[in-house]
């Protein structure tokens, strides 16, 4: 039965598709011939042989159009083309035919040149009086209507002489021809979704028009959770970024598309590691748990993987910033929500689009160290260090220019009932470091089908990604920075045979970086499959029932081999192979009921539903060393002798969890002036304690359009809005609330080893939701005919019952850390968005835009609960590390203080005898830990994104600047190696030569000692990306619909005072979000790239 229905749907859609295509072609032929034939005959002079019985008016029009040069023009909402007529006269004039039609229907006709306008007859009398009018006109204008941004022609656009019913529609290539009387006529060009343009005809005979998308005037559609809303109705803080505003250039993942574009949303990645992930943070840190990044929703799939969406396939990204907007996603919305909508097909002919580019990436900024000649000079001054006689630029040795290719082909189209889009994406992106990069194939199919009188809409999205990665080893960057520049990369001395011929020296934490990257492998294959199916049925008018099912699988294989000759790692195990398989699966089922209602003075929209999602994670990992040959790397673990003698390592795991929710939302729009929205989600997670599984997360917001009270033509919109909402945060792991036993280390019982079985964590049955409460006050504005528009938002948020792994006393606890709810965080900020259409001439436009964020305040209010014996107080965390700086914390976490305080000694100089001088804060005559103070903060104060879009004729250009200000970075390299005596073992940072006392004596210690000297203001302003493109004018009937060539680039310049490689904010130290602001030694260098590409439309 299901199959039959499907067959029917396909057949139906096929016919509709053919119909539309044929019609388009007819119109095209008609209009195309216009220019040739100058003689226009009145309809009373054209004979036609036509016999029809009970045919629709449409059929009559079609027949006449197909046999003559005439074209009918009418408004479908007025003229019922299904009305049936019977024509029996046979051969007669068109005039007579239409007269006959007119008598059987209620329509009148008016011939203006070749166009026959159809309209309702005013009265019954009308029928007999002026049924058919023939007007001969003396002027014909032709031209093409195109889409402003893409230059693509717009078929079906209306062209009408203002104040008359004389008009036409553009053909399949966007061409039109219209005749009328008099030069004073004004032509009105319009198309749904685009701004209407009026042009005075004057004495022009060709008028080409570019229509701009009508998105600025707050009529833009914004995707909110479980629905869409017009921007003008939205009363919470929501930002929408459409394709045309995305970042360009070396964009390899979705988050890079909107970096810097949304006020309050920071997207960072330090260094140019192509496999490195982005750190996304919305409005600062509002949780200490696992979910510091926003929830990702792709086409309705909650918690979707960003890896499975190719940037080329994205139509829009909507960011739900405040808690009232995110509350509909309840438990996972605490760090905001990013909703991604992928491109679908559009009704019309099949379009094939190709976009491809070649990208050239090279290292841009290094941590400056001594060159070989500088090293020799300084080594002899210090009197330390071994000169090995070579001159090696280690940065150059481990990097290469990376040339990547990106190709995207998309096929899309459809008819009035079925639309489709299929895309294929290929990315080959090597990294600048040797033997690194990734290779990825991604494909996506989006289908949408309407049936049952358009009451049923079925959609399917299928996306898949197959990728392989070479991760390399980040440590190579650390050793390239500190390796002796007089050392050779390789040596033929037999001494080095055991290292595979690479030069090595036996020192602490010091390995030949080229050897690391060339001798060892670190590979991965990643697969992602995502399937989503939705059925939406309009039960009665404006009442929709939706059912949605999605599944998502992610599978990762990681394999690495460290060669038996790799001194860094591998030699110690006589070869070491690792292989792991991780599989993550989740399925989501949702059913919702939506209702759009009209009130006498406004509208009301409501949605309610049920959501069920379960997650399963499982994996397997094996590690073994001691191989007789390095030849097969990680591919044959059974050859590892470790498995014979018990040193091999195996483990596997499986865990699951569930989320179940009931949710709803109501939106009111009263007179387009007053707006109100209320939502709530009652959600349960299997991870919480028995009695605390469920939580309720409400959101409410309201707004008023003040422009309706200010009668000023220059104020188009001025919407004031206020919102409040609560969102929750889930636990990062399952089973933390229950008492579990698992195997631990072994124990000798009667001469035999058995594993011990004990508790794996402190069970906490009281675990419950972490709750974030947020208030947002905002203003959306548009002035001067929508030329200046944007938004201002102020927010203040408070997170309570923080989920944390806190220190607890032992006993009564078994472990000294327990996951529990304790503490409170607060933060607030100001966001400003300004768009300005500065120049809008027909052949030159300039549109600057600015996204400005000011992080006003963040505070750790509390991390303690004295009633449960949890005392946080002050803790110093994030050690600098070896060599010599273990137990040297860098960050102070303190209740009542902001997050990210950098904590250390205050540097004052170098004494005459070469000793450090640090400030003796407590004046006890000694420099101890008690002399440490706050010497910086790792979090930024201000972030700006400054976009500039230009078009001039066929050229288009885009410059996007990004600036982040007010954050400090701990330069770890300097803390360890900006010490002259270190030259005895390692290369030194070039500024080590400047560490001298007043009399020129060099710093005399060989110990790096962290202090304020190594904390730098890392504010920066960069030309993050730019592009310049040229679209060719294509002749009608060319093989291509569109050809655009372009060049683009990233990080053309970065202006900063930071002495390290990349001044980007470090939001976390590894996964420790309480320790931002540390530039660790393994970070990749900052890179710069240039790309050249082409867009083709067929």
């Amino acid at each position: 039965m299901k199959n039959k229905l499907l067959q029917l749907l396909i057949m139906l859609s096929k016919f509709v598709f053919y119909g539309i295509t044929v019609q388009f072609i007819c119109i095209g032929l008609l209009l195309a011939s216009d220019g040739v034939s100058q003689s226009i005959k009145p309809i009373s002079e054209i004979d036609l042989n036509l016999r029809l019985e009970n045919a629709s008016i449409k059929t009559v029009f079609d027949k006449i159009e197909s046999k003559t040069d005439y074209h009918f023009f009418y408004d479908e909402s007025i003229v019922d083309t299904k009305k049936l007529v019977t024509l029996k006269k046979g051969r007669t004039t068109v005039f007579d035919l239409l007269l006959n039609v007119s008598q059987q229907s209620n329509y009148k006709f008016k011939q203006i040149n070749k166009v026959i306008n159809v309209n309702l007859a005013q009265s019954a009398n009308d029928n007999n009086n002026v049924v058919i009018e023939i007007v001969s006109q003396d002027k014909t204008v032709t031209g093409t209507v195109k889409e402003e941004d893409t230059g693509e022609s717009i078929p079906g656009a209306n062209v009408v002489v203002k104040g008359t019913s004389n008009g036409t529609v553009t053909d399949i290539d966007g061409n039109y021809s219209l005749s009328f009387t008099g030069d004073a006529a004004v032509l009105v060009f319009s198309f749904v979704g685009y701004k209407t343009v009026e042009i005075e005809a004057g004495n022009q005979s060709v008028i080409d028009v570019n229509l701009a998308p009508d998105i600025t005037a707050l009529s833009e559609i914004v995707v909110t959770g479980y629905g869409t809303q017009e921007k003008k109705e939205i009363t919470s803080a929501v930002a929408s970024v459409k394709e045309e505003d995305f970042n360009v250039g070396n964009v390899q993942s979705p988050e890079a598309l909107i970096q810097g574009k949304v006020a309050g949303l920071t997207i960072t990645k330090a260094g140019g590691n192509p496999n490195g992930g982005y750190n996304i943070r919305l409005r600062g840190l509002s949780t200490l748990g696992d979910n510091t990044s926003p929830l990702i929703v792709v086409d309705g799939v909650i918690g979707a993987s960003l890896d499975n969406v190719d940037p080329n396939d994205i139509e829009s990204m909507d960011v739900l910033k405040d808690a009232s907007a995110a509350a509909i996603y309840g438990t996972r919305g605490a760090s905001g929500v990013i909703i991604i909508t992928t491109k679908g097909g559009k009704e019309g002919q099949m379009n094939v689009d190709y976009n491809g580019y070649v990208n050239f990436e090279s290292p841009y900024r290094f941590q400056p160290v001594l060159s070989a000649s500088e090293w020799r000079e300084f080594s002899s001054e210090v009197g330390l260090g071994t000169d090995f006689g070579s001159s090696t630029d280690w940065f150059d040795e481990i990097t290469d220019n990376a040339v990547s290719q990106v190709h995207n082909v998309a096929v899309s189209g459809g008819n009035s009932s079925t639309t489709y889009r299929m895309s294929f994406n290929y990315r080959d992106v090597p990294g600048v470091a040797l033997n690194t990069g990734f290779n990825r194939i991604n494909s996506r199919i989006n289908l949408s089908h309407k049936a049952l009188n358009d009451r049923l809409t079925l959609t399917m999205n299928l996306g898949g990604t197959w990728g392989t990665s070479k991760y390399g080893y980040d440590e190579a960057f650390r050793y390239a920075t500190i390796y002796n520049p007089t050392a050779p990369v390789r040596s033929t001395d037999p001494e080095f045979n055991k290292y595979g011929g690479y030069f090595e020296q036996v020192l602490f934490d010091y390995y030949n970086p080229v050897s690391i990257l060339e001798q060892n492998t670190n590979d991965g294959t990643n697969k992602r499959v995502n399937l989503a199916i939705r059925g939406a049925y309009e039960i009665i008018d404006n009442l929709f029932f939706d059912m949605f099912y999605s599944l998502q699988t992610e599978s990762d294989v990681r394999s690495s081999y460290r060669a038996s000759t790799s001194f860094w790692s591998g030699r110690d195990r006589n070869g070491l192979a690792r292989k792991s398989y991780d599989d993550r699966f989740n399925q989501l089922f949702e059913s919702t009921l939506r209702w759009n209602g009209d009130l006498s003075n406004g509208t009301i929209d409501a949605v309610g539903g049920y959501s069920y999602q379960d997650f399963t994670n499982e994996g397997f990992r094996a590690e073994g060393g001691d191989f007789i040959t390095d030849e097969f790397g990680y591919n044959n673990l059974s050859a590892s002798q470790d498995f014979n003698n018990g040193l091999g390592d195996l483990n596997s795991y499986k865990n699951t969890n569930k989320l179940i929710a009931f949710f709803g939302r109501v939106n009111f729009n009263w007179n387009q002036t007053w707006f109100l929205s209320a939502s709530g989600r009652y959600e349960g997670s299997s991870r919480f304690g028995e009695n605390n599984k469920w939580g309720f997360f409400p959101g409410i917001s309201g707004g008023v359009e003040l422009a309706n009270f200010i009668n000023s033509a220059s104020v188009n919109n001025l919407k004031f809005r206020v919102s409040y909402g609560e969102t929750g945060n889930n636990l990062a792991s399952s089973y933390l609330s229950i008492q579990r036993l698992g195997p631990g280390s072994n124990f000798l019982v009667n001469g035999e080893w058995i594993p011990s079985y004990g508790p794996v964590s402190n069970a906490n049955p009281d675990l419950r939701w972490e709750v974030k409460k947020e208030t947002n006050i905002g203003l959306d504005y548009a002035f001067f005919n929508d030329k200046l528009y944007g938004a201002i938002d102020y927010y203040t948020r408070k997170t309570e019952d923080l989920l944390q792994n806190v220190a607890v006393p032992v006993p009564p606890n078994l472990f000294d850390r327990t996951w529990t709810n304790v503490g409170e965080l607060k933060n607030s900020g100001l966001e400003l968005l300004i768009n300005w259409k500065a120049v809008t001439n027909s052949n030159f436009t300039y549109t600057p835009s600015l996204a400005f964020t000011n992080y006003l305040k963040n505070e750790i209010v509390s991390l303690s609960d004295s009633t449960r014996g949890i005392q946080y107080g002050i803790r110093d965390i994030a050690g600098m590390g070896a060599p010599g700086q273990n137990d040297t914390p860098i960050i102070r976490v303190q209740e009542g203080a902001p997050i990210g305080q950098i904590w250390g000694l205050i540097y004052e100089g170098i004494a005459d005898n070469g000793d450090w001088i640090h400030k003796d804060l407590n004046e006890d005559g000694e420099i101890t830990n008690a002399d440490r103070a706050v010497i910086g903060n790792g979090l930024p104060k201000v972030e700006i994104g400054f976009g500039n879009t230009f078009t001039f004729g066929n050229w288009d250009a885009n410059l996007f600047f990004r600036g982040v200000f007010g954050h400090d970075l701990v330069n770890s390299y300097r803390s360890f190696y900006e010490v002259p005596n270190v030259i005895g073992s390692y290369n030194v940072i070039e500024t080590a030569r400047d560490l001298r006392g007043p009399n020129g004596t060099l710093l005399n210690t060989s110990q790096g000692k962290f202090s304020s000297l190594h904390v730098e203001d890392a504010s920066f302003f960069s030309l993050s990306n730019f592009s310049i493109g040229y679209s060719f004018n294509l002749p009608q009937g060319a093989a291509f619909r569109r050809i655009r060539i372009y060049g683009m680039g990233n990080n053309l310049f970065v202006a900063t005072g930071y002495k390290g490689s990349d001044p980007e904010v470090r939001y976390a130290d590894g996964s420790n979000v309480l320790a931002p602001g540390i530039d660790r030694r393994n970070t990749w260098y900052l890179t710069r790239s240039f790309a050249f590409g082409v867009n083709l439309g067929f």
């Binding site: 049936a451 020192l507 036993l741 011990s756 010599g884 360890f976």
Partner: protein, 380 residues
Amino acid sequence: MKNIKIFTRILIIGLIMAVSSQSCTNLDEELFDEVTPDNYFKNETQFVSALAEAYTGLSGYASGSYFALSEVSSDAMIVPTRGQDWDDGGHWRRLHLHSWNFEDPEPGGVWGFGFGGVANCNRLIFTFETLVDEGKVDPADAEAFINELRALRAFFYYTLIDIYGNVPIVTNFENADPNPATNTRSEVFNFIVDELVQSIPTLSTDIDQSTYGRMNANVAKMTLAKMYMNAEAWVGTAMYDKASTVLDEIINDGDYSLEPNYFTNFNVNSEVSKEFIFALPFDQVFYGGFNLAVRTLHYGSQDTYNLTAQPWNGFCSLEEFYNSFDDDDLRKGKPGTIDAPYTGRGTFLVGYQYKSNGDPVVDSGAETNDPDGELLNFMP
């Protein structure tokens, strides 16, 4: 119309599926790779493996904070700053100079080691008592485990009284006070002695595989003797007579004796030694963590002993301590010279160092004013 009916049917089926088979609001957790106390404790091996958890934490006795706090603070051992390495915020220096503070890693680390052991013993005593109440275990078997755990808990308390003096005495697991009050050192002393004295008669007296690495009567007596030996310092009353009595009980049975070759105690397979009363059976495969070798040896020593891991060039002894041994004391060993490697095994490693292939070990980080130049020479 027909299609609408079909759709309605699909809709209804879907809804039924949603509500029934998705079990709508059930949020119970399902465990896959671990067990709960409810589905464990089904056979003897499972009981013993639960008991084992009380012992496995003892590895910290030989290589963690307890070792460092006890030894680096003595005149036998030091962790000097070496070139760029080992300054580590000055905490090793403070350890040796006895100026450590509460933020340093060792004082807190020992607390975790000692009380972690105490908490595990308390939990297991509670667990076995509960299992007896539930009739899931033979009361006699449980009794033996509980006595063993009480003595082991006393041993953990011995490390705590040694390092801290006054600490809270905590013996219950369920409803334990999260902020227990401290007890005086003499209260703690009496508690430990009482626990040991009470449990000794109940503990196994076997000295064989069944008690190797476990708390038998002699280990408890040894711990008791250590208490008595320290009594004068800890509670102000000399108890050396009592110590002597307990030690005689251990020795007079004749089960222990000094090894003819002192170094037998330091061999890899040291379990043959007759000297050990209580051994932590470290093993490369099953029970790792004893890393004194990598803590002490130089980076270049990797090639001397063909070690898999590069040593850390850290812990070492002091000149005065080395010189306090007589020249003919075997433990001093025979130093390596500029011409040849060392010849006699000792507990100290002194002199020029050579690779296993006979070449001298070179220190590429040597400073230019090093009297031996690049050659590695351990000087007393």
